[in-house]
């Protein structure tokens, strides 16, 4: 082999004068996260020979998320998945909390329907979840290759992707189609020139998470849960005005507490992420829920939050990109759905690769069915519909002004200050708008954007 090269922002493709006459595999999937395992599973089921590369010692070992997976998309891949998926708790309570330093308003919804089959969301750890899904890919015939880094693409001088270089002694692996599911940093997609700009820090947030162990009964009492029921709480207004949000999720015998903040905002504010976590843990609405929790793991990961308007090219000659590698995470501070989008995208990528191989055309045009399938499915339909939401949730107003506005409004409504007569909602709103220096026109415009996006 030539001198060692490593996977990173400057990794470069190895060029071949001629396309290799035979390929080791039909499909090579890089990354055994949810996107990669779904892609490998779909391609193997469609009859392809598949290798699934993972740089960590086991699937999930490099991966971090908040902790809730929405499994509906799995109906198509693993029927009755709920009977076997390694779940901590089934989410039956979803809450959104808006807070200031000493106020909090929570919208709390509970549905026992979500606690029985076919379920809705579940908390799970990635080492369990990713390993389980990779296991399905292997059962379908894919070869899992862990502890192996794809250090760069193998390309012909004409630019067609024909495989990857790895850090194994025996080096290169060739395939008819490479599916890059290598996560948010996706050096492979960047190397192939699919991302328009190398610099996308503006659309990246950093998530940090503490896993805090608590006895099962304590969690049930504090969160009002029974049996395997679980709660997720999304939090807005806990990041000192830095664009972002927080979360608190219940596992069986631990809770996951985290904050997610925009990278440029964090750097500009000169605040360290664990300081925000400390704030959150000390907040009067959160402290009683996490008190005494023993930290068992601290973790961090980036999230792509660009949304629909910042998607890269999704296909090249011999190459597809899926999941966070293509920025398909539906995220906006408090809102984090990436695993389901990754599974959906991976599944369509695996199918499109198999179809293109079957048709004998794995060029960019031959792989174009992938984007069409995504546009028809929830993956890009939801992103299209919610394209304005990341901008709104991460805006100055939503981060700095609206939490205070909302909490003051609630405080005004709920406070009893007889003998003064109760104030009307409009008067309260006017007062709060003035106090927080909010432009009524912007407020109206944001309300309309919000209603359009969700309506």
């Amino acid at each position: 082999m030539t001198e060692p090269s490593y996977a990173g922002p400057v990794s470069a493709s190895a060029l071949l004068q001629q396309p290799p006459p035979a390929r080791d595999f039909d499909v090579l999937v890089v990354g055994a996260g949810p996107a990669g395992s779904a892609a490998a599973l779909a391609a193997a089921r469609a009859g392809c020979s598949v290798a699934l590369l993972e740089r960590g010692p086991y699937p999930g070992s490099k991966n971090v998320y908040g902790g809730v997976v929405y499994g509906r998309i799995l109906d198509e891949l693993v029927p009755q998945w709920w009977e076997e998926m390694p779940v901590e708790r089934w989410v039956t309570r979803r809450s959104t909390m808006v807070m200031t330093a000493d106020q909090a308003l929570t919208v709390d919804f509970r549905s026992q329907r979500w606690g029985t089959a076919p379920y809705n969301g579940a908390t799970a750890h990635r080492s369990d979840l990713d390993g389980w899904l990779a296991g399905h890919a292997v059962a379908a015939g894919a070869v899992l290759v862990p502890a192996t880094v794809a250090t760069g693409l193998l390309r012909t001088t004409a630019g067609t992707v024909v495989g990857v270089r790895t850090d194994r002694p025996d080096g290169d692996l060739t395939a008819k189609v490479v599916i890059a599911c290598d996560g948010v940093n996706s050096f492979l997609a960047k190397e192939a020139g699919l991302h328009p700009r190398q610099d996308n820090a503006r659309h990246l947030t950093l998530g940090v998470k503490e896993t805090l162990a608590l006895p099962r009964e304590v969690i049930e009492q504090r969160f009002g849960l029974t049996g395997r029921d679980g709660q997720d709480i999304e939090i807005l207004g806990c990041t000192r005005g830095i664009p972002g949000g927080g979360f608190l999720y219940t596992n069986l015998e631990s809770v996951s507490l985290g904050v997610v903040v925009g990278l440029p905002g964090l750097a500009a504010a000169k605040v360290r992420p664990e300081e925000l976590l400390a704030d959150l843990k000390a907040h009067p609405a959160i402290a009683p829920l996490v008190r005494g929790g023993r930290q068992v793991e601290y973790a961090a990961h980036l999230i792509p939050e660009g949304g629909y308007d910042h998607l890269p090219e999704l296909a090249g000659d011999g190459l597809l990109v899926a999941g966070d590698a293509a920025g398909m995470c539906l995220a906006a501070g408090i809102w984090l759905e990436g695993v389901n989008f990754a599974i959906g995208a991976g599944m369509y990528a695996g199918r499109a690769a198999a179809a293109a191989i079957g048709a004998g055309d794995t060029s960019q045009a031959g792989l174009a069915g992938y984007r069409r399938a995504l546009e028809r499915s929830f993956v890009l339909a939801d992103h299209r519909k919610l394209r304005k939401v990341p901008g709104l949730v991460l805006s100055e107003r939503m981060q700095r002004q609206y939490p205070g506005l909302i909490c003051d409004l609630a405080e005004g409504l709920f406070e009893v200050d007889n003998p003064r007569p109760k104030p009307g909602v409009w008067r309260l709103l006017r007062t709060a708008v003035r106090r927080h220096d909010i432009s009524p026109r912007r407020l109206l415009a944001d309300a309309i954007t919000g209603m359009r996006a969700f309506g």
């Binding site: 990794s11 948010v184 996308n200 990278l263 750097a267 400390a278 704030d279 000390a282 005494g292």
Partner: protein, 102 residues
């Protein structure tokens, strides 16, 4: 915010915070920092964004970097604008951070 001084969870030291996370440390430094470039950097974004606190200010005003307890998140190279300051790669297969509760 309203943290009560003396409440146990606020006192967790950074070392304690990192203690539960497993690292299979490689001999090769997967990230290197040319601290001479850092000497002329005024923004120092890495000091704030690196979740593992691997960039630390030195008494003489320079920057010290350790690669061992790295989450491999990528935040540092994403925020650093100085050409050539950070050389960033993934550790070799199987090495580096190993999350169990991710």
């Amino acid at each position: 915010m309203t943290g009560q001084p003396g409440e146990d969870y606020r006192e967790i030291s950074f070392d304690d915070r990192m203690e539960g996370t497993e690292f299979r440390v490689s001999e090769r430094a997967h990230i290197t920092v040319d601290t001479e470039v850092c000497d002329s950097c005024t923004v120092r974004s890495c000091l704030h964004v690196c979740p593992a606190k691997l960039f630390v200010p030195r008494a003489d005003g320079g920057i010290l970097f350790n690669f061992e307890q790295c989450f491999e998140c990528g935040a540092c190279y994403q925020v650093c604008d100085a050409e050539g300051a950070i050389t960033w790669t993934y550790p070799d297969g199987g090495l580096g951070v190993v999350f169990r509760k991710g």
